[in-house]
Point group: C2
Chain length 218, copies 2
DNA sequence: ACAAGTATGTTGTATTTACAACGAAAGGAG
DNA sequence: CTCCTTTCGTTGTAAATACAACATACTTGT
């Protein structure tokens, strides 16, 4: 159980509380811990969930069967990661499967308890609400930024949109990105070699300069 | 001011309260109303905002200058629409310009007041917090679904992904979509005629059937 | 320093798409 | 019904992209 508290204290929603505060808070939230074996299905596509999940140990996959029947892994979560916050919040059925990819422990919290400050009106509980809103809002913005990029028709426009955004975010024409070429290509949803080729053209045209993951807009 | 209360009572966040409750609530939130002339800039790109905006009258554009200097209108809002909820919530600088497209009245609410239940701990205020979370969470899910679609490489895969999602959402192989062809093409970010052509192929191949905005997956 | 492995750039080809232009069908107004 | 407008489907062409295959760095471990 020591492990449990230690992990929880590193979860984004629960950071920066003292151990005492955290214990009180978690008691207030009536956390339930469940164990899963590798391959166990935690949530099914179509389920309506009203809990927030937190990975304590092991790992879980968010996956989805596409039209052709391929199981596509959308994300892999490990200790300290949160899942279900959007679906529990919206009460919409989930379009994905949540599956343990190894023996795992997962903590579940009733979402209502998270977002409704308890009768004791504890300050820390209010803090959780604020953080949950910040978490959802920030995710929102990142998703919107990505949609902006994916809505561009050509690779060149995607690149320029992405780099312009990064430049604004960094308040500078020079910045490094957190991607290698393959990851950048995945993010922009284009072919890696096509991305390399297009970057070369842009450099040749004197529009940008770059070396590896360091970029400069001219 | 009658108008003001009437509009507010139809805003998603403030629906289903009695006039009395709403008055109390809005007083609690210390709403400020500002007037803008056509063309006035309400928020600049890069601003960090801490208010929630609600259009009372007139209309505003969310727009963005792309790399080439074109002013792209991302959305047009009118009475009862909310804006800024994600940016105020995340405290990230906004990547867009918010501009009045006609003479407008906009109500602003301090975001902290919205998401922190007041000292009076009024029940209605808690309701607002819950609704704000639901609003952000739902938006999140819709954005994620769209990204899933835009992440498909080919028009065919985008179509099948979209239709499969809609089928799941409706719990049926037969459903109508809220788009005409042009709107559907815009949503999937493909050319309209290319979309029509691809739909024809899918119909010919016996994979789907459709008439206008009625679709059937076979 | 060397070898093996990884990341990136380059090029040619087949596929896919955007774009433009047009015709057919559907819906509305008079 | 007829004209007019809008929506939708079709086709040809030019452009863009994916894909594969290979060349050239750069890294890492020994």
């Amino acid at each position: 159980m020591e492990d449990y508290l230690k992990i929880m204290s590193q979860v984004s929603l629960f950071q920066d509380f003292s151990i005492n505060e955290l214990s009180g808070l978690l008691g207030c939230l009536q956390v339930v811990i469940k164990e899963y074996k590798k391959g166990d299905v935690i949530f099914r596509q179509g389920d309506v969930i009203n809990v927030l999940g937190i990975v304590i140990s092991g790992g879980i996959n968010l996956q989805k069967c596409d039209y052709y029947g391929n199981n596509v892994i959308l994300a892999t979560l490990s200790a300290k990661d949160i899942f279900g916050e959007s679906y529990a919040g919206s009460q919409m059925p989930i379009p994905i499967e949540v599956v343990a990819n190894s023996n795992s422990q997962v903590a579940f919290v009733d979402y209502d308890k998270v977002i409704h400050p308890c009768s004791k009106m504890c300050y820390n509980h209010n803090m959780i609400v604020t953080r949950m809103i910040k978490l959802l809002a920030t995710k929102n913005i990142l998703l919107t930024a990505k949609i902006d990029i994916l809505s561009k028709r050509t690779t060149k426009d995607k690149i320029l949109d992405y780099l312009t955004n990064e430049s604004l975010r960094n308040n500078s024409n020079e910045f490094t990105i957190p991607f290698n070429r393959q990851a950048m290509a995945d993010y922009l949803v284009v072919d890696r070699s096509a991305l390399s080729a297009e970057l070369s053209k842009l450099k040749l045209a004197g529009i940008i300069d770059y070396d590896r993951n360091f970029f400069k807009i001219l």
